[in-house]
């Protein structure tokens, strides 16, 4: 104050008091502002980092990026299970969303069936706020873009591109490859039980978990790891920007290559048609399973989408059990296809193969008369295998006893499961022995724990309590055809590019080499002129023949001599079985075919085996070269039999006096 204030003696008590009080209040205000400033400094300088983090967690969100599931390939790289893009429509409810109105609006945009609408509205209302509910799958591109264009006016509606599992072969691999389906609470519990965390991926509406076969056994390898897409969201949860640099990429699942051959497998399914049964093909050099087909099958793609109740019931209640894997889970008496095993047991026991047994068509043991399907006359072991003479094996079985047969059967692969990479899903079957009987009846019927000699003859011809599955049959055949190694079947060729151990890296069979060769030659004789499967062994592939053994397994007691199958209800007919290897002179592939209630091995199983084996052989490049090689000169007329038309053309060209084109012929 520069002005003199003496003129204003009113500078009185009141002004002085006011100034003191104003100074005081000013001080308090200043203190208040100082506190504000201090608080500001604490928030913005001392605690800034904490609030920056909170701000970032407000602002940025990671949207789950599901990993692409690993593909499943066949041995040649043909895709058995893959992923295809799927345009999916989803609705995430917010508290104030008018669900009915929203769904009505959506109905105008995309074709939602009228009868699904009430269910849909219920689902959306029941879901937690902001949890996306799938409304429609597999939209067309037009529908997808229509929804995306309108999305801003439809709060909570998103149309996204996701991947969905697809099995291009439909049912052909449904049992081996299995399928994926929606996660249910049991799956979540199972994962929790294992002590593994249940990530947000499991709650992604598009996520599917492996439920069967390879998809289940290698679920974790196939699944991969979810990534995150860093997005900037506003307070209402709407994405305003994407931060490409901040993305955590998803790790795709591993690719799994199987030893299966899609063509062989597909052919197997074709030849079965509506017949019920299984076929297994193995490479006897490596143990690779080329085909493991169970028929009838089902479309695995249906399970990915989710089966409706009626669909599931139709599959589950069908008499021919499409959901059951008949190669590994279905067990059957092997019938005569077991005879090579019994023969092996005879030889190992030291029975002279040249010893002869007379077959008069019937054979008595105790009070029972057992019949042969034919009167074979004098038979040695070779003849008995070739002719499938029951009486020879009945006779010898009494000398062998059950335990020697069981030992041979187990050595060849029966009564056990194989580690082919699938978890479970295999049935052991049953290889009876005295020990088994004692154990089995100990609790059930203690008076029946002793093995009776009368049980052995039917065991020797593959009946009785003996039960095998198609995979075991094929393994046994492959081991006999290999004649050295105790081959293991191999289904998984590589996981994520890592080759799996071969089935041939195993010890030798516990049999003498000459005995193995003997049985193998006996089986080869079945295919030769006069053998029981001579007709079925003709492959139409030049000099390549198939050595096999038919089998017919009873499913009911034959009353009297009524062994006819015709006219019986399907479920009472005999099973038809067939095992074989080819080429019979230089084995490469073994096959087993079981046709449930097919009425007989040679009628039902052998023709199927022949067709399947043809594909396997034709796909082998070395064998194909051998097939395409013309036969020696005198047999020119047989050129007709060649699959490949080239030979005919060549023959015609040769007839016309032209030089044949270069090719396999030139080598001769």
């Amino acid at each position: 104050m520069s002005e003199p204030s003496i003129f204003f003696s009113e500078v009185n008590q009141r002004q002085g008091g006011f100034n003191r009080r104003a100074f005081l209040l000013g001080g308090i205000t200043g203190l208040g502002l100082g506190i504000l400033g201090g608080r500001l400094a604490i928030l913005q300088a001392v605690e800034a980092q904490r609030y920056e983090k909170l701000a970032a967690s407000n602002q940025f969100n990671f949207r789950l990026v599901p990993p692409p599931r690993g593909r499943v390939l066949d041995r040649h790289g043909v895709v058995l299970a893959s992923n295809r893009p799927n345009f999916r429509l989803m609705v995430a409810r917010e508290k104030e969303t008018d669900v009915d109105g929203l769904v009505r609006n959506l109905c105008e945009l995309v074709p939602i069936p009228e009868d699904r609408v009430p269910r849909l509205i219920k689902d959306i209302k029941r879901a937690a706020p902001k949890a996306p509910v799938p409304v429609m799958e597999d939209m067309t591109w037009e529908e997808f873009s229509r929804v995306n264009v309108r999305a801003p006016e439809l709060p909570g509606v998103t149309a996204e591109m996701a991947e969905v599992r697809v099995y291009p072969w439909g049912g052909a691999f449904a049992h081996v490859v299995g399928y994926v389906a929606k996660v249910n609470s049991d799956d979540i519990d199972a994962i929790k039980e294992k002590g593994e965390p249940v990530g947000p991926l499991f709650y992604n509406p598009g996520f599917r978990i492996g439920k069967q076969g390879i998809e289940k056994a290698f679920d974790e390898r196939l699944r991969g790891e979810a990534g995150g897409k860093k997005v900037e969201v506003d307070a209402r949860g709407r994405v305003v920007a994407e931060d490409i640099g901040g993305d955590i990429p998803a790790r795709p699942g591993d690719e799994i290559q199987l030893t299966l051959d899609a063509d062989v497998q597909q052919r197997a399914l074709e030849v079965f048609g509506e017949d019920s049964g299984g076929a297994v093909v193995m490479d006897i050099r490596t143990g690779d399973i080329l085909c493991m087909a169970s028929a009838p099958s089902f479309d695995a793609n249906r399970f990915v989408r989710g089966l409706t109740g009626p669909e599931y019931r139709a599959l589950a209640n069908y008499e021919r059990k499409p959901l059951l894997d008949k190669c590994m889970l279905g067990v059957y008496p092997p019938g005569s296809t077991f005879k090579p095993v019994t023969a092996m047991a005879c030889l190992e026991y030291g029975i002279n193969p040249e010893e002869r047994v007379h077959c008069g068509g019937a054979w008595r043991i105790g009070n029972t008369t057992m019949r042969c399907h034919k009167t074979h006359g004098s038979q040695n072991l070779h003849d008995a295998i070739k002719n499938s003479c029951d009486i020879y094996f009945y006779t010898m079985s009494l000398r062998l006893g059950p335990d020697r047969i069981a030992a041979a059967a187990k050595a060849l692969g029966f009564g056990q499961t194989f580690d082919i990479g699938l978890k479970g899903g295999q049935s052991k079957g049953l290889v009876p022995s005295t020990a088994w009987k004692a154990e089995y009846y100990k609790t059930r019927n203690p008076r029946n724990t002793k093995w009776f000699a009368g049980e052995t003859p039917s065991y020797a011809i593959g009946q009785g309590a003996l039960l095998v599955n198609a995979l075991q049959l094929c393994v046994a055949t492959a081991r006999l055809a290999n004649a050295r190694k105790a081959l293991n079947p191999r289904l998984i060729r590589s996981i994520g590019g890592v080759e799996q151990p071969k089935g041939s890296d195993v010890p030798d069979l516990p049999f003498k080499k000459e005995n193995l060769d003997y049985v193998r030659s006996g089986m080869a004789a079945v295919a030769a002129a006069g053998g029981t499967a001579f007709r079925a062994s003709q492959l139409g592939l030049g000099d390549i023949l198939m050595a096999g053994k038919t089998g017919t397994a009873q499913v009911r007691g034959y009353k009297g001599i009524d062994r006819k199958n015709t006219g019986k209800p399907w479920r009472f007919r005999d099973h038809g079985l067939f095992i074989a290897f080819a080429p019979f002179d230089d084995p490469r592939y073994a096959i087993s075919v079981i046709v449930e209630h097919g009425q007989g091995g040679s009628i039902a199983a052998a023709p199927k085996a022949r067709e399947i084996m043809r594909v396997a052989l034709l796909k082998d490049p070395e064998l194909r070269a051998r097939i395409e090689k013309p036969l020696p000169a005198p047999d020119l007329s047989e050129g007709e039999e060649f699959e490949d038309g080239d030979n005919l053309r060549d023959a015609a060209a040769a007839a016309a006096g032209e030089a044949p084109p270069p090719g396999p012929m030139v080598e001769e």
Binding site: M1, S2, E3, P4, S5, F7, F8, E10, N12, Q13, R14, Q15, G17, F18, N19, R21, A22, L25, G26, T29, G30, G32, L33, I35, L36, G37, R39, L40, A41, L43, Q44, A45, E47, A48, R50, Y51, E52, L54, A55, N58, Q59, E232, V233, D234, A235, R236, V240
Partner: protein
């Protein structure tokens, strides 16, 4: 040409001299604050003048002119108008009680033709003027301690209770606290001050428990324990702190404040604009704005202390008290130190009514400055 106590009265009354006597540094600070508000509104609207920034600045321009005109209005006129303004305000408040317009559960507005109008705003100025006039005519001793003091108590109590009943707790606190501040400034004895503080402390808990509306009580409880209501009121406080804290020392830059741009910050252009400013301009910007506010308050208090009339002194100090309360309450709320009450940051926040009230108040402040040498009727002892 400068005016002094020695200038002749006619000299001082010349409009040009009055215009020059306006404290232009003070005005500049007001312009800077309002400008900062406009800038942040431009930014949080996504770099757009609409819907807030342009209107805010235009309004400020208009009320600034009003303030200048009021600044040159003789203090005597203010003096004469003070009781009528208070009376009109009180009548309007009573009218609101009976025929007010209701919105969001509160009855605060009067519809006059097409205009919607909040009488409690009139009272913010009215209470200051009326109390200043009353104390102008009261002796220092009476102002210290006397039965006369029941009159200002009633003058404060009536509008405060009416506004609180609307309910508008924030404004009621402002009116009441401003009135009490004037009483203290006028020389209330420490004994009575102590008694009053004691009375308030005793009355507060039952008041909170029984008189307040549920939502008001919830706000206070939420403030005491913000974790209890993370999605409701606690959300506002937390988001405000996040926006403010994440701004850091230098801020994220204009238009880059993620929390305000993405609407995590509620009421980003009105009650929480200080948080938006702090996020984008950091401690440097927010501190500068606080300093501007401090500057305005202290310059106004200095103007008050230089006035030769008791009316001018108390009027200016009362306006300053209102203004300071605005800043302190809003600042404390934004920084999580006070419950959420609807008190904006004056001049910075969007909103025409508060801006108008505050600038009319500053009109009185500047008028006090311009007419600081003018004696107002020696009204000691005369109440009217």
């Amino acid at each position: 040409m400068s005016v002094s106590a020695l200038s002749r009265p006619g000299e001082r009354d010349r409009p040009l001299n009055k215009f020059l006597e306006i404290d232009w540094v003070f005005c500049l600070m007001l312009i800077l604050i309002a400008g900062a508000g406009g800038l942040i509104m431009f930014s949080v609207a996504g770099g757009s003048w609409t819907p807030w920034a342009a209107q805010h600045l235009l309004r400020f321009g208009a009320v600034f002119v009003v303030m200048i005109v009021l600044a040159m209005t003789p203090i005597r006129w203010w003096f004469e108008a003070s009781y009528p303004i208070y009376a009109v305000g009180l009548i309007l408040l009573v009218l609101v009680e009976f025929m007010g317009a209701t919105a969001k559960g509160a009855t605060r507005w009067l519809d006059i033709g097409p205009l919607r109008f909040q009488p409690s705003e009139v009272m913010k100025v009215g209470i200051v003027l009326a109390l200043a006039r009353f104390y102008h005519g009261l002796s220092a001793d009476s102002a210290r301690e006397s039965w006369w003091l029941l009159i200002p108590l009633a003058m404060i109590g009536a509008p405060t209770l009416l506004v609180a009943h609307q309910p508008d707790l924030g404004t009621a606190i402002l009116i009441g606290a401003t009135g009490v501040a004037i009483m203290v400034l006028a020389g209330l004895s420490w004994r009575l001050i102590g008694a009053g503080v004691l009375a308030i402390l005793i009355a507060l808990p039952p008041f909170i428990m029984f008189v307040l509306h549920d939502y008001q009580r919830k706000r206070i409880l939420t403030f005491l324990n913000p974790e209890a209501d993370k999605m409701g009121d606690g959300y506002h406080i937390l988001q405000s702190k996040i926006a403010l804290g994440s701004g850091g020392f230098l801020g994220k830059g204009l238009g880059l404040g993620s929390q305000s741009q993405l609407n995590y910050l509620p009421e980003k252009h009105t009650d929480f604009i200080f948080a938006a400013l702090s996020e984008e301009l950091g401690f440097v910007g927010a501190g500068a704005v606080l300093l501007l506010y401090a500057g305005v308050i202290f310059m106004a208090l200095r103007i008050a202390s230089t006035s030769h009339s008791h009316f001018g002194r108390l009027g200016t100090a009362g306006v300053t008290a209102t203004f300071a309360l605005y800043v302190l309450i809003n600042g404390a709320m934004v920084m999580g130190m006070a419950p959420v009450v609807g008190v904006p940051m004056p001049l910075l926040s969007y909103g025409g009514t508060v801006m108008l009230t505050v600038m009319i108040g500053f009109g009185l402040v500047l008028s006090t400055r311009v007419h600081r040498y003018s004696e107002v009727t020696s009204g000691r002892g005369s109440l009217l």
